[in-house]
């Protein structure tokens, strides 16, 4: 057992209100520089929809992630020897047109326009060329199903749905959508890292954050193609790729990443999980339908004595183990099995999990409110406005059972709390729902608390990074005493 610690994340989709505060917080801190204007390390998509970049989930087209090749894992894009023919022109690289061309407006024309009969206007100009552009699309053109004929109906996850179901989904009276906030998943088996010919990309051992060493990146752009989530971005100005850094400078100071800190819906949870690195390849090579379980299997129980012992041998500090024991992510993913990985069939084992949205038909215009205490309590889930199959394509590599049980449990918790607070549902019905969803009353209360009441400290349990100790292990801190000041990378020498 090779135990490693990983900072993992959960987004609770039932709580996301699609306000984009997270995206803006991130943009203001990290991507307001030249060459990064088009990047949204955090973006919020409307589902169904084609997302950003357009149709990023279609790996027939983008060739991201891993594929099983004679039972062996292989990059879909350009691994090993295949880099040689593709290094001059990467065949599956998206271009700026797949994202959008960033623009601003000539605001000064509003003030400097000569007097005339017409209102002055500020024309849009490209932030790349400075020339006038006709804006065709933006990063979020299909927000709230805008232009659904062009966008939502082309969602790659709809492919396996029957035409009938698809037609129903897009009937105007039935249309439903939810938000999918996305950041880099800081995957356990990152295809971006595996594809980087320069070795500039790496996973931090202590917390699993995936980073690009800007000094070593040589613009071979393999990572942009290889990441199936399209979460590495090419900075066209500096000629270096960049990506979400999980606000590691904030994490190291014990603070939540900016998108977590600012999240209005409080949908974001962060905590350490321990996993077994020896099993990655074996688990990632399983058939699609077993992948959700395979990923859960990788994650170890931080309370288990043998895991703790192995973690200590692997150099994980007691504080980090203790933080893993308090991890909200561990509870959502492994204990309660409520949170599921996005597109686990890409086989990168994303460390960002989603609690799928519960969207039952609450009422319809003829029949008034729908009652929840019928014989078949969970029929509402089957009748949910977004088909289970669709959610399963997103969050469980098509395995409907995994999504159904996650939804059932959420629904049962709601019924239970309704019984407790409103009382129009009998204890018997509520308990029956809990039993059906394999959830105890205690568990239901715990889920309710972490979902609805948890404070920032409970939602975001930042592992102590202990960089000061890490450095002591590597070298004598006194060695640098009196040698360097702030902002220097080498000792300042008089006259040089």
């Amino acid at each position: 057992m090779d135990v490693r610690s990983q900072t993992a994340l959960v987004f609770h989709l039932d709580k996301c209100i699609g306000c984009h505060t997270c995206s803006v917080a991130c943009k203001n801190i990290w991507t307001d520089r030249k060459g990064t204007e088009y990047m949204w390390w955090n973006n919020v998509e409307t589902k169904p929809g084609t997302g950003y970049p357009t149709k990023w989930e279609d790996q027939e087209h983008y060739k991201g992630g891993w594929a099983l090749h004679n039972g062996k894992l292989r990059l879909k894009s350009t691994g090993r020897g295949r880099i040689i023919p593709s290094i001059f022109h990467n065949p599956s690289m998206p271009s700026m047109d797949d994202y959008y061309e960033p623009w601003t407006y000539k605001y000064d024309e509003l003030f400097n326009a000569p007097e005339g009969d017409d209102q002055p206007t500020a024309r849009p100009i490209s932030m790349v060329t400075g020339e006038h552009i006709d804006i065709k699309a933006g990063p979020n053109w299909d927000d709230d199903l805008g232009g659904s004929k062009v966008y939502a109906e082309n969602d790659p996850n709809l492919e396996e749905l029957t035409p009938e179901v698809r037609r129903q989904m897009f009937e105007i009276e039935r249309m439903a959508f939810f938000y999918l906030p996305r950041i880099c998943n800081h995957c356990i088996n990152p295809s971006c890292v595996a594809s980087c010919p320069s070795g500039a990309m790496y996973k931090r051992g202590e917390d699993g954050v995936v980073l690009i060493n800007q000094e070593r990146c040589r613009a071979w752009r393999s990572c942009v193609s290889a990441c199936p989530y399209k979460k590495t971005y090419y900075n066209w100005s500096t000629g270096k790729s960049e990506k979400c850094i999980l606000c590691f400078p904030r994490l190291e100071a014990g603070e939540a990443p900016a998108c977590f800190h600012s999240c209005v819906g409080r949908i974001r949870y962060l905590g350490t999980v321990l996993y077994d690195a020896d099993k990655i390849v074996e688990c990632a090579s399983k058939p699609d339908l077993e992948l959700v379980d395979a990923e859960r299997e990788l994650i170890l129980d931080p309370h288990d004595e043998s895991v703790i012992a192995a973690a200590k041998i692997a150099g994980i500090s007691d504080d980090v183990i203790e933080s893993a024991q308090r991890s909200p992510v561990y509870r959502f993913v492994k204990e309660w099995k409520l949170a599921l990985p996005l597109h686990v069939e890409f086989r990168t084992f994303p460390m960002l999990f989603y609690v799928p949205p519960l969207m039952p038909v609450i009422s319809n215009k003829d029949a008034g409110p729908v009652r929840n205490d019928t014989e078949d309590i969970f029929s509402d889930i089957e009748k949910a406005r977004v088909p289970i199959k669709y959610l399963a394509n997103l969050f469980a590599a098509g395995n409907e059972g995994k999504v159904r049980s996650a939804l059932k449990k959420q629904y049962a918790v709601r019924l239970w709390r309704r019984h407790v607070t409103v009382g129009d549902i009998t204890e018997e019905t509520a308990k029956r729902a809990l039993t059906d969803a394999e959830c105890s009353v205690d568990e239901a209360e715990a889920i309710y608390k972490l979902t609805a009441l948890a404070s920032m400290d409970e939602r975001v349990v930042v592992p102590p990074s202990q960089r000061e100790m890490a450095i002591e292990a590597l070298e004598d801190p006194l060695e640098h005493k009196q040698s360097m000041g702030f902002g220097f990378r080498s000792a300042p020498v008089r006259g040089q």
């Binding site: 880099i83 271009s95 061309e101 070795g199 150099g315 007691d318």
Partner: protein, 229 residues
Amino acid sequence: MSDTLLFGVLPYLAVGIFLIVTIQRYRQRTFTYSSLSSQFLENKKHFWGSVPFHYGILFVLFLHLAGLVIPDMILAWNAVPLRLFVTEATGLAMALIALVGLVNIVLRRMQVSKARTVTTPSDWIVYALLGVQIVTGIGVAIFHGWGSSWFATSLTPWFWSLVRLEPELSYVSALPFLVKLHVVNAWLLIGFFPFTRLVHVLVVPNQYLWRRTQVVIWNHDRHTTRSVD
């Protein structure tokens, strides 16, 4: 006199600049070592420029290096007329492919406004030098044929005399103008190399072929770091 300057001094100057600046740049401004790809800004024309150019130029460069390092083997190979013909024809064909690529690259850089915004004066110098180099090379191949053989008795010995630090200009003084231009331009290219995006040649990712698939970097020694009890 000018021969001394161009064939006795310029090579040392160029190599000197090349070594000093590439090393200094790598050590102090590693960040600037990048291929500065513009594929992201324009994805289609890029293929017809970059791909033929790189394949063509690499092949031709490889032939030149072979001529410098293993001239005897090249001569032996060329002893059969058919094989000589094959060498010459492939070399010329690859040079033409490189030229097509370069022309496409330059056209793309001029026509596509997004690509134009990331094109710097140093890029234009590189394109000009490469253009002269490829065109003169093709000229030599056409007007002064069988270069893959006479190369070994003029330019190769001159090159090694430079390496021995005893430049013997007699080997090159009688060469035709086109050949001289080709050679001088090559040294200019080497001298300008460290100031341009060409440095990406020095950081081709060969280690990728054998390194471990995943890269994990630890900030501590995994077996000694423990929290204080």
